[in-house]
Structure formats: structure tokens, C-alpha cells
């Protein structure tokens, strides 16, 4: 395995050539905020929170899908990055219907956590109040599109870990939404095995367990990592 040297936040580091900037930074104890990233599942760079500045490039690059290169000089906490991250989080809040006070995952929500992390105390952008649907056709779980931020964790975990690929992204641009079974109600999708991995993967309250009330629901994204580790490394104890 080839080793690359690079500099992150003025720290000289080494990383395997197959590692991404996010992985290298994590190994070095450098915290880069993420939202669509989920350990154990492939990355898509959808949320734009892990953007970093790379010397020599005028564009910001998502750390989760950018491979390390020899001699890279990276900054993860510049003022420009803070501005863009906060803007991204404010836009996520403004484009959905996030009524945190009455949400099942209030207090256990990764979108809330990220808002605290980037220092968002309000959204400068006008709220859109879109009309979005709620799918309660599944006997155990529900999908509330008002809370969905299109991180596609559910799509990836259902495809890559469970192998059922119930979820996907429908439509285009601002009209995009997470669809089940090529536009069937979730409860009618034969491919769904009711495993609940998408419920654990979801960072917000978009996919929830029925019967949960305000602030009662906890996701378990570590379960996803555990499953992958169990399969690949044969480590069956959690």
C-alpha cells in the first residue's frame, strides 16, 4: 500500500493512497462536519458540509469524496468555509418544514447537531413552507417528507447493506424527493424487508418508527457500521 504525505491545518500527516481527505483528517483527530456521510456506506458528497480548501485550487472540494494526493495542503476551518457551511445548513432548514419542537427526533437529530456545530442561530433565508407528503402505509415505519433533507443515506443503506434498493431519488432539482418502489406507497413495496436500516440511517426524523412521539426517537447509525464490520472482518461482537 502506498503512503501519501499531506498537510491538513498545518499538520503534516501520512495517509494511505486509497483514503479520502475526510478519512485522513479523522485519523488525525481533525473534525470535519458531515451530514450525508455514514460510516459503512459509500459517499456522495450531497450535503456540501465537509467542503475543504485545497491550496492551488480556487474551488472548495468535498472531503468525503476527494482522494488524498501527495503534497496536498488543506485547510478545514477557514472563515470562507465557515460561511459556506452555515449557509448550507440554513438553506436546509429554510427549504423544508423543520418544526423541531414537535419532531420525533428532537434532541437526537443530526441536522440539529450540525446547526449547533456551524453556529446557526437563525436562517437568513426566507422559509419556503413547501407542501410535502407523509407516507404512513408501512405497518411499522413512516416517511415524513417535510423533514427530509435528501442526504440519500436511506437510498445507499438500502441498496448497499440490505440489497433491497427500496428507496431512490425521484424528480429533478428543487422538486426532488425520496421515492419508494418507483413511486409506490412504502407499504406496498414487495422488495422491502422491514429491516429498519433506513430508519437508523436517517439523520433527521424523516424516516421514523411509528408510535414515537416528540423527542422520543433515537436513530442508531452505529448499527450500520457494525454490520459492515461484522461482514467484512468477522467481528460479531458489538
Amino acid at each position: 500500500m502506498v503512503v501519501k504525505t499531506l498537510i491538513i491545518n498545518n499538520q503534516l500527516l501520512t495517509a494511505s493512497e486509497d483514503q479520502t481527505i475526510l478519512e485522513a483528517a479523522k485519523d488525525a483527530g481533525i473534525d470535519i462536519p458531515t451530514l450525508c456521510h455514514l460510516d459503512g456506506v459509500s459517499d456522495v458528497g450531497a450535503c456540501r458540509l465537509c467542503l475543504v480548501e485545497i491550496e492551488g485550487s480556487s474551488k472548495l472540494q468535498p472531503a468525503c469524496v476527494t482522494q488524498v494526493q501527495e503534497g496536498m495542503v488543506i485547510q478545514t476551518e477557514t472563515e470562507k468555509l465557515q460561511t459556506y457551511r452555515r449557509m448550507a445548513v440554513e438553506l436546509l432548514f429554510a427549504e423544508g418544514n423543520h418544526v423541531c419542537a414537535v419532531c420525533v427526533v428532537n434532541g437526537n437529530c443530526q441536522l440539529q447537531d450540525v446547526a449547533v456545530r456551524v453556529g446557526m442561530d437563525h436562517s437568513r433565508f426566507p422559509y419556503q413552507f413547501p407542501q410535502r407528503k407523509v407516507d404512513l402505509s408501512h405497518p411499522q415505519f413512516g416517511m415524513d417528507h417535510n423533514r427530509c433533507i435528501l442526504c440519500t443515506r436511506c437510498v445507499r443503506v438500502c441498496d448497499e447493506i440490505e440489497g433491497a434498493h427500496v428507496w431512490d431519488v425521484a424528480s429533478r432539482g428543487g422538486q426532488s424527493f425520496i421515492v419508494s418502489g418507483i413511486n409506490q406507497p412504502w407499504g406496498d413495496v414487495n422488495a422491502c424487508t422491514s429491516c429498519g436500516k433506513c430508519v437508523d440511517a436517517c439523520p433527521t426524523g424523516a424516516i421514523f418508527r411509528k408510535g414515537s412521539t416528540v423527542a422520543e426517537m433515537n436513530h442508531d447509525p452505529e448499527k450500520i457500521r457494525f454490520l459492515v464490520t461484522a461482514r467484512e472482518q468477522k467481528e460479531w461482537t458489538r
Binding site: N97, V99, C100, A101, Q112, A115, D121, Y127, P130, Q131
Partner: protein, 181 residues
């Protein structure tokens, strides 16, 4: 020493933020020595006075009266605090925005679901007209400080108000100060 003029207003919200303000308990006595409470749902004052130093605004802008009052508040106040999630994000009061204009909501509430003498409320000068869109406060006026939370707990309120008493700007960051919900 001249006392700081403090006001609180209750717009479209549930008054939970004001209840949380009262959860300051004994510290309210210390606060009372340093501030002059010039306008509040707690103090029975009809008109918003001039030259207010700090105003805590609870609630969203949902009707004509809220809109009129918040503009008056901006003109007469030095520092306005968006107090609680209803003021910062419009929160639960804004859920009707997804149902269309105010007329839809009024018909649903007062005609379709009116069991006895269904009629729309119509009393100019007494019942304020609903706005078609419920807005957070900072969409209507300039807001100087944001205090999210539903409601903000007493520790957060105190941490925000205490520096203001010394003429300083409070630091609003971290989970203790800016977690929504």
C-alpha cells in the same frame, strides 16, 4: 444609576417562552433591581412606550396586529431579541402556511368545523385580520439577537440577559445557547 428599560411582547406563540422567563425564579428579584419592566403581558401596559432599551419578542408574525406592533417596537427599541423558536423560525404557528392562504384556514376552523352558528370572525378594530403567511420576526424587521429554543430554558435566557445588563453583547453559540426545538 439609570435603570434599563426592558420589554417583552407576546405575538403568535403559546407564551411558553414567557413561562420560561418566569422560570428564572429568584434571579428575577436581582433582575427587578436593575431593569424597569415597561411593557409585558405580565405588566398591564396598553401602549408600547418610547425609548425602550431591550425587547424580548416571543412569537411569529401571524396577523395585522402582530405586524403593526412589531414595526412600532422596532422604531422605539434599541435592541430586539428574537425570543424562542416561534420568533426565530415561525415554528408551530407557521404550519398553516402549508395549507395555503388565511382564508383556507379560517374556513376550515370556523365554517367546516363550526358546530354551533358557523361564521367567520369579523369585527374590525377588535379581531385582527390574519396574514396569508406566518413569518419569523427577522423577515419583517431587523433583529439584533436570536435566542432559539422551544422554549429557551431559564439558563439560556439568563446567559443572554446578564451580559446585556452590563452593556455587553452575549455570546450565542454552542448547544446550550442555540439548539432548536
Amino acid at each position: 444609576m439609570k435603570k434599563i428599560k426592558l420589554a417583552t411582547v407576546w405575538l403568535a406563540g403559546c407564551s411558553g417562552c414567557h413561562m420560561s422567563f418566569l422560570d428564572l425564579d429568584e434571579w428575577l428579584l436581582e433582575l427587578a433591581e436593575k431593569v424597569d419592566m415597561v411593557y409585558s403581558p405580565i405588566a398591564d401596559v396598553k401602549d408600547y412606550p418610547d425609548d425602550v432599551d431591550v425587547c424580548l419578542v416571543e412569537g411569529a408574525i401571524a396577523n395585522e396586529e402582530n405586524l403593526q406592533l412589531i414595526k412600532e417596537i422596532r422604531q422605539k427599541t434599541k435592541l430586539i431579541v428574537s425570543f424562542g423558536d416561534c420568533a426565530v423560525t415561525a415554528n408551530v404557528p407557521a404550519m398553516r402556511n402549508m395549507l395555503g392562504p388565511a382564508e383556507t384556514v379560517l374556513k376550515r376552523s370556523y365554517l367546516e368545523l363550526g358546530d354551533v352558528t358557523p361564521q367567520l370572525p369579523q369585527e374590525p378594530g377588535i379581531v385582527p385580520e390574519l396574514l396569508d403567511r406566518v413569518s419569523p420576526v427577522h423577515e419583517v424587521i431587523k433583529v439584533d439577537l436570536f435566542l432559539p429554543g422551544c422554549p429557551p430554558d431559564a439558563h439560556r435566557i439568563r446567559a443572554a440577559i446578564e451580559p446585556l445588563l452590563q452593556g455587553e453583547q452575549p455570546v450565542i453559540e454552542g448547544r446550550e445557547m442555540i439548539k432548536f426545538g
